[in-house]
């Protein structure tokens, strides 16, 4: 079968890349111990606040202009689902899932991450502009996924 030289080149490159990716995955799992989190192997994040657990949500002020939010994601809502902070506040979010895989995207910000059961997601953002920032789940999590949202109200 005749194969054009350029096509042959691209096929070879694709195969080489697949091999490279395979080696990278093997290295990651065998050498660096990267594993998919499961019920028996929870991810432990050091340096978290002692109260940052999936049991209870809270919003607390650390000092002027700095807040922490311990947020629980569960089917199909966030707790807390309304957060009020003054303009210019820096907020660190600790995110936990109590059931399945969720996600969070705070519109108009750079905060976007998966919320994996057994792991603690952490993100920090400074809200310089007053207004309402809607956050929602962006990982399909079941029948009520589309109603899983909340808002951050930044008061000017």
């Amino acid at each position: 079968m005749h194969i054009h030289p350029y096509e042959r080149l691209w096929i070879r490159l694709s195969v080489i890349m697949l091999i490279v990716f395979g080696i990278a995955i093997a290295l990651s799992s065998l050498t660096f111990g990267i594993e998919i989190p499961g019920a028996t192997r929870r991810a432990v994040a050091t340096g978290l606040p002692v109260d940052a657990t999936p049991e209870q949500s809270w919003i607390r002020e650390l000092g002027p202009g700095r807040y922490e939010v311990n947020m629980i994601a569960r089917m199909w809502g966030f707790d807390p689902n309304e957060i009020r902070i003054p303009k210019g506040s820096t907020v660190t979010f600790y995110l936990h899932s109590q059931d399945v895989l969720h996600g969070i995207k705070i519109r108009g910000t750079t905060v976007s991450m998966m919320v994996i059961p057994g792991q603690v997601g952490r993100a920090t953002y400074t809200f310089d502009e007053p207004g309402e920032y809607i956050f929602l789940c962006h990982e399909y999590c079941g029948l009520g996924h589309h109603v899983m949202s909340g808002k951050i109200i930044v008061e000017g």
Binding site: V50, L62, G63, G65
Partner: protein, 234 residues
């Protein structure tokens, strides 16, 4: 395909392979630059102002607590003993300093701090090598809470005044027992929960900071590259 194009392609592939090897193999590891540490001016046990950042700064381990909190102080003392011994064994004793910032400034004034470092080792004493700092309530709030991001909360006065308690008899503030590692450039590089503290991790992290700080010339650029490729220890 022209010879020049092949050479350029080969160089590109070699460069990509090099970058890939660097990113996956991570031959050089660095600690992430988490955030700038807050600049501050607080008081030492003799009432003299101590400010940061300083030109002659060392790698600094910050801990936070209240002298009245016996359990917390025992934890800090145990941390200091273990950390100091491990760092001395690894040859880093001179590269690191320990700072304690009170979260109870109403009670831990300079005189109380002076007593804490002068007294023989007890529950409420501090090791003499640990620099204790205090300041006004708002200064502490700005440095510890806003700056370092460590939660602490004084007891609600109203809840205790009703019982006829004096201010001095109020319980100490609640706080997250935390260790924060700050490099010579006054940047936060690591953060540990005190109850999960492990000397192996501390020595590893201080070792990485010392190596990075000593890197010069071309090596310096390789260390900067390591930050770009997230070559962080796991």
């Amino acid at each position: 395909m022209s010879k020049g194009l092949r050479i350029a392609g080969a160089i590109g592939v070699a460069l990509a392979a090099l970058i890939f090897a660097f990113a996956v193999g991570r031959p050089i590891k660095v600690l992430p630059r988490m955030a700038p540490a807050p600049p501050f001016e607080l008081l030492d046990p003799w009432g003299k102002p101590v400010s940061a950042p300083r030109e002659d700064a060392k790698i600094t381990l910050y801990t936070f607590g209240a002298l009245r909190d016996d359990e917390g102080m025992a934890r800090i003392r145990a941390f200091y003993d273990k950390a100091h011994r491990a760092l001395s064994d690894a040859g880093f004793a001179d590269a690191v300093e320990f700072v304690f910032i009170t979260v109870d400034p109403d009670h831990d004034d300079p005189e109380a701090l002076r007593r804490a470092i002068a007294s023989p080792p007890t529950v409420r004493s501090l090791p003499p090598q640990m620099m204790p700092l205090t300041g006004s309530w708002i200064a502490i709030r700005m440095v510890v809470g806003t700056g370092f991001g460590v939660y602490f909360q004084p007891p609600a006065v109203e809840a205790h005044q009703g019982a006829g308690q004096l201010a001095a008899a109020l319980p100490p503030p609640k706080y997250d027992p935390t260790v924060i590692v700050v490099d010579r450039d006054h940047v936060i590089r690591a953060r540990y929960a005190l109850n999960q503290f492990d000397t192996g991790t501390l020595v590893r992290d201080v070792n990485l900071l010392v190596k990075e700080a000593n890197a010069q010339g071309a090596t310096r650029w390789i260390y900067e590259g390591a930050h770009l490729f997230l070559c962080y220890p796991r």
